[in-house]
């Protein structure tokens, strides 16, 4: 995917340079939303059992950015991306993916769930799991073809675990499992990626590999929203941040938004985390 695939190339081309994009004549977005925004959330509230976990989220994410979603535990980071993909119901509000509701734009979205969300003792190989990323475009009943497997193999090699393709997935290390999940999202060939804590409990080599893939995606004009925990690396990894604590405390380009004041507002009295962040800011470039 280093050389942009024809579909993506034609889409990105039309959105940035040449005439009206194919979707522009059928958008239903209000004037406050730019139709080309990969993700545009308006006035979204999400509740579990009537207890709101996310309030009044208003966001427009620009294209081609790596976006970090940062906030304390229970801030609703995972909830934000799940609600954006209609995986949990919204109490109110509207989410548009490239100007359309998610259900019409699923093929443009790739997803890396939290690693602990599945049972890794499941009887499938790494290659089987990555192939699942293609199921969406295969459709009902259609069997997995050699071409799908080849694409999955390529993605596994791209994330550096090609030689483990035929291992059962519980025989992979945590970092390798995370790479398999990333490879599965890559074969979705999406324009917008949602990643739920891809850096959680991975080794340094895997972290580097994931960052490199993220940068490749950005270079190809893709957008990624990444739930992230490590404040030290936010400035290094992300162009854009969403600071979240049940509400959006701030969002925007990292250098403008990732400030001690905003972090204070996001994390409140949680001093240890704040100290970490302050340290990161003092040093300018983290790590």
């Amino acid at each position: 995917m280093q050389s942009p695939d024809p579909v993506a190339a034609s889409i990105t081309g039309s959105s940035t340079r040449t005439g009206p994009a194919p979707w522009q004549d059928r958008i239903g977005a209000g004037p406050e939303h730019s139709p080309a925004a990969p993700l545009s959330i308006h006035d979204m509230t999400v509740a579990y059992h009537r207890k709101p976990v996310l309030w009044d989220v208003d966001l427009d994410i620009p294209e081609g950015k790596l976006v970090g979603i940062v906030g304390p535990n229970g801030a609703g980071k995972s909830t934000l991306i799940k609600a954006a993909m209609d995986l949990i119901p919204r109490a109110s509000g509207r989410v548009l993916i490239y100007g359309q509701p998610y259900r019409q734009q699923r093929h443009l979205v790739g997803y890396v769930p939290q690693r602990e969300s599945v049972d890794w003792d499941f009887p499938v190989s790494a290659l089987d799991v990555v192939t699942m990323g293609r199921y969406g475009r295969m459709g009902w009943i259609r069997p997995v073809t050699r071409a799908h497997r080849a694409a999955a193999m390529e993605a596994l090699q791209r994330v550096g675990v090609g030689e483990l393709a035929h291992r059962q997935i519980s025989q992979l290390s945590g970092g390798q499992q995370q790479r398999v999940f990333l490879a599965r999202a890559l074969v979705q060939e999406a324009r917008l990626y949602f990643m739920d804590e891809p850096f959680a409990a991975v080794d340094a080599a895997t972290e580097k590999a994931i960052v490199r893939i993220l940068q490749d995606l950005r270079a190809a004009g893709r957008t990624a929203l990444v739930v992230h925990h490590d404040l030290q690396t936010v400035r290094e990894y992300f162009d854009y941040v969403i600071l979240l604590n049940m509400r959006v405390v701030a969002h925007g380009p990292t250098e403008q938004v990732f400030t001690p004041e905003n972090l204070q507002k996001t994390y409140g009295g949680r001093l240890t985390l704040l100290d970490q962040a302050a340290e990161a800011l003092r040093r300018g470039s983290p790590r």
């Binding site: 209609d86 995986l87 769930p113």
Partner: protein, 444 residues
């Protein structure tokens, strides 16, 4: 004995018509349950089958009452099974409602519905038996199962169910695999996860209702759970687990029904479940990769290898100034590593048996083959240490332990790679240790 043997032969070769119907019918049932059970187990919904079968009982009783009230005998099987299906589905719907409208978790919802409906069923059966007509006899057959009462039509129904499930699961294999592995991802891709779940439930309902007659509602769960759980031990691929589970289910049904046909008054449902459990136990113990005994065996082999390598390396290093020749007192050997006197003696005994060490005048020494092996081991160990120090930046004081942990798994290819990497530093046969060897190092 002769009689039993010929009887067994007659049953297994399906010569008797009735036995043929029963054995083939239960085999088909076992197969169907094994197939659908694979997905239920992996979806972690196996117990829903139990709730379903237990909630079927009041439906059977009500259907009997309705049919008897309408003037029939009340024991028309399709009618009874329709009642079973309806109340089973109601039970599941109830569980889903409890789960989504309260904060109770699935296990609590399941326990409530299963026991309440089963209790209602038992109460209704009691009422039916108190009513005048004695025609209700036989309804308890649904609780424990009564395959002997199976007719050809029932066996055909089971075979058709099994065939339909085989076709449906094969066609939707990829969808069901994704549903069971990662339902969240499936939904994000737009698959109708709830409908796929209902589809699975419908198949389980079909198997359960049809299985009520053969194994009874208490034990039908066993056919849904045990075959896939046993099959899982033999493979790491879903497709093979699916086929294996179908085969184990069919075999359990066949053998169980045959045995109970031979021995009067052995309840078939229980025998079928016990046969399945026997296969499960064998799988648990013997399966080559995941089975308990092969794992224990592999663990033991590795432990013995590691112990032998430690012994040989210690002996060599302690007599290294003398080129690995010369004896070492047992006490010095004991002090060198953290092994107990018992462990050391056992290891020495084993090494002597293998001709690697000998004891001369109370001193332990390497035999020529032992020396050869020890030299190779020490060489690998030190190559690995050098590699860790020069390439992985491990401190010299820690390197011994790290090398210790890894050297036992060094393959020949890795060793030759190490040699290539370190050829500049290593010219001698056995390179010098890159760190100071610990106390008690030198032989007297």
């Amino acid at each position: 004995m002769m009689v039993l043997g010929s009887q067994l032969w007659a049953v297994l070769t399906l010569q008797d018509y009735n036995t043929r119907v029963v054995v083939l019918g239960t085999a088909a049932l076992g197969m169907a349950a094994g197939m659908i059970g694979t997905f239920m187990l992996l979806r972690k919904r196996a117990l829903l089958g139990d709730a379903l079968s237990h909630s079927a009982l009041p439906g059977i009783a009500v259907a009997f009452l309705v049919m008897a009230g309408a003037g029939g005998s009340g024991k028309w099987l399709p009618g009874l099974l329709l009642g079973a299906t309806l109340s089973g589905v109601l039970g599941i719907a109830w569980i889903v409602l409890i789960r989504s409208w309260t904060r109770l978790k699935e296990d609590a919802a399941l326990g409530i519905v299963l026991s309440v409906l089963f209790g209602a069923g038992v109460a209704l059966l009691g009422i039916i038996q108190h009513m005048a007509s004695g025609s209700a006899a036989g309804l308890e057959g649904f609780i424990y199962g009564k395959p002997a009462s199976m007719l050809q039509a029932d066996a055909i129904a089971m075979a058709v169910t099994a065939a339909a499930i085989a076709v449906l699961c094969s066609v939707l294999f990829k969808e069901l695999q994704l549903l069971c592995f990662d339902p969240g991802f499936a939904r994000a891709q737009g698959w109708p996860v709830a409908r796929l779940d209902w589809f699975l439930m419908a198949l389980v309902t079909a198997v359960t209702v049809i299985g009520l007659q053969a194994v009874g509602l208490i034990l039908v769960l066993a056919l849904l759970v045990i075959p896939p759980a046993a099959a899982r031990f033999w493979t790491e691929r879903l497709w093979r687990m699916f086929v294996g589970s179908a085969l184990i289910g069919a075999l359990s049904g066949m053998v169980g029904a045959s045995v109970s046909a031979l021995v009067p008054r052995l309840p078939a449902g229980a025998i079928i479940v016990l046969v399945a459990a026997g296969i499960f136990l064998l799988s648990l113990l013997l399966a080559p990769q995941r089975g308990a005994l092969p794992r224990l065996w592999r663990h033991g082999v590795l432990r013995r290898t590691v112990a032998r390598q430690h012994l040989l390396r210690s002996l060599y290093e302690m007599s290294e100034p003398a080129g690995g020749r010369g004896g070492v007192p047992l006490s010095a050997l004991l002090a060198r590593r953290s092994w107990s006197a018992g462990e050391l003696r056992r290891e020495l005994r084993r090494a002597r048996r293998q001709g690697l060490v000998q004891v001369v005048e109370g001193l332990v020494e390497l035999t020529p083959p032992g020396l050869q092996q020890a030299q190779r081991l020490v060489r690998n160990h030190r190559l690995w240490e050098l590699y860790l120090i020069t390439h992985a930046d491990v401190a010299a004081s820690h390197v011994d332990r790290d090398a210790d942990a890894l050297e036992h798994v060094l393959g020949r290819q890795m060793v030759s790679e190490l040699e290539n990497l370190l050829s500049a530093q290593v010219r001698t046969e056995v390179p010098r240790s890159p760190h100071v060897l610990s106390e008690g190092t030198h032989a007297r």
